[in-house]
Symmetry: C2
Subunit: 325 residues, 2 copies
């Protein structure tokens, strides 16, 4: 079969779609004929050789496709349409996925829609609900509101928690998209100081939960934006990792809970539990369209390098998807 690997660690031009060994089916796995895979920032880090979470040389961590061999798993049969996280190996004709984290695709969704769900909705759900413990009617600040995780988080925060949602983004087009998804307040971080807007919008109290993809560049403003007893969840450092001055007494005064998290390196059990919990909360909503996967652009798998370049240019609203077969 064929799959996408990086010839050498490096830029998008290193990606090639080439002959690779067929995946080996282990106990508990489903064998899946892949129809679509979505692109994630962790794929770019893998391509660059910067993280070693995934042993599979084939890039990619999420797919949608058709079960070819249920391998004795009672919840699935040959031909079932499934989506979910894989431990690497997504950009390929065939992939294996632990059955206990596979999700049935709602009938109303296409394979390209479905591939846009697992990573960002699981990350947003984990961040908002498991770690951020977002409560009904609390306020959440979602940075990069138009990103894959951002668009998922806006919808989950509104539909599951009835939260007040404040987002940041860098263009009017992105801000308007966030508003249409349900964001109550959308802030152009290039034009105004987002912390001041957050304080204005919250009666000077700040937000209860922050989804932080940015890290050091926003450190002081995020601190200014968070409420007493706020939960600040760090899921990316697109604006730099190193903060030059952290005043611990500040964290004590506001009783901040700062949590760093990553989804890809977590255990199989964790991913399975998280998947089950997300599905139990959202299955109906995906089915009837109350919550929607947001697909920005679709590339064929031969153009995986273009998909990575598109993400690196930061132009996407929602997910970038590769189609296969």
């Amino acid at each position: 079969m064929k799959g996408v690997i990086a010839k050498e660690p490096g830029g998008a031009e290193q990606l090639v779609y080439t002959d690779m060994p067929h995946p080996e089916l282990q106990h508990g796995d489903l064998l899946i004929k892949v129809h679509a895979a979505a692109v994630n920032r962790t794929d770019i880090l893998n391509r660059e050789g910067k993280v070693g979470y995934v042993e599979n040389p084939i890039i990619g961590v999420e797919i949608s496709g058709e079960v070819i061999d249920p391998n004795g798993n009672d919840d699935f049969k040959t031909g079932d349409r499934v989506m979910g996280l894989v431990n690497g190996g997504a950009y390929a004709e065939y992939a294996v996925m632990p059955a206990n984290r596979a999700m049935h695709i709602p009938d109303s969704l296409s394979y390209t829609d479905a591939a846009a769900i697992p990573e960002v909705f699981l990350t947003a759900y984990q961040t908002l609900n498991w770690i951020g413990k977002l409560q009904k009617n609390e306020t959440v600040l979602i940075h990069a509101g138009a990103s894959g995780v951002g668009t998922a988080a806006i919808q989950l925060a509104k539909r599951l928690s009835d939260a007040k949602v404040i987002v940041t983004a860098g263009s009017e087009r992105k801000l308007e998209f966030c508003r249409q998804l349900g964001a109550d307040i959308a802030i152009n971080y290039k034009k105004v100081s987002f912390d001041q807007e957050v304080l204005k919008a919250t009666d000077q109290k700040g937000v209860n939960v922050i989804l932080d993809f940015v890290g050091s560049a926003y450190w002081d403003k995020n601190y200014a934006s968070i409420a007493i007893d706020g939960r600040w969840v760090l899921i990316g450092v697109l604006g730099g990792s190193t903060v030059k001055k952290v005043r611990l007494m500040d964290l004590m005064k506001k009783r901040v809970q700062l949590t760093g998290t990553l989804l890809t390196p977590r255990s199989d059990d964790y991913k399975s539990e998280l998947t089950k919990d997300l599905i139990s909360q959202t299955n109906q909503m995906f089915e009837n369209g109350t919550i929607k996967p947001i697909v920005d652009t679709i590339f064929s798998i031969e153009e995986a390098y273009k998909a990575h370049q598109w993400m690196e240019q930061n132009k996407n609203i929602g997910k970038i998807v590769l189609t296969i077969n």
Copy 2:
């Protein structure tokens, strides 16, 4: 009545025991004749004028004593022996305390023992159980093991969670005391690098929970000591508040939950709930001596300045208590 105030913000010599207005009984309060009050670091900050959590000019946040007026609260009657947190006003002949956070003193304990319980056991319980979510058989690192909170935390971690307890302290006398309270491993931070000892003792995995009173001076070593998915609870900055370099990606890689907390400025409701939960878990253990308040030195209230000096010299093992009446 008489109470201890600071004539001017400043050193221990500013403390005077002088005539003050009788406390005003509000709805829900008990009026208490104080028999003992214990000394806390927050009292020193108040004396220095550095924090404004407590409006009462009379120093002190915890007492034991006898109910003089139950004020219509059904759970208490005149003459009941009680202990608990007050909103300032502890170092005095009389004090008021919201009834919903008053605790009955077990028969086996004296007033001086009882005064040594509320602040440190509530703080240790909040830190280990509510915030740190310490689980059975996990490992916890308790800095300043011989301090008031340290001695409480060692006992709670062993008796309630059957945790593996690692402590740090700066003298053999203190380390031996911690071992007798149940600490499994006691590290002299002046002689060895505590993080290396922690890693040795945990099969290089690190600890699940850290009780951090120290802050910036221990930042890097605490990071080295914490396990993946560890909970790092910041309750003091005795070693400095400002960390000059924090790498957020490190927090993400280990998926650390860093939480700053303070007890004194929390709401009345929070203190009431925390008190109820602590008592439900520990009442029997205090009664039968399985858990013990640790009293270091007793001063009379006229010698409050000496009590503060004693704490500032850092010589105490456990609590410093003032007796009144």
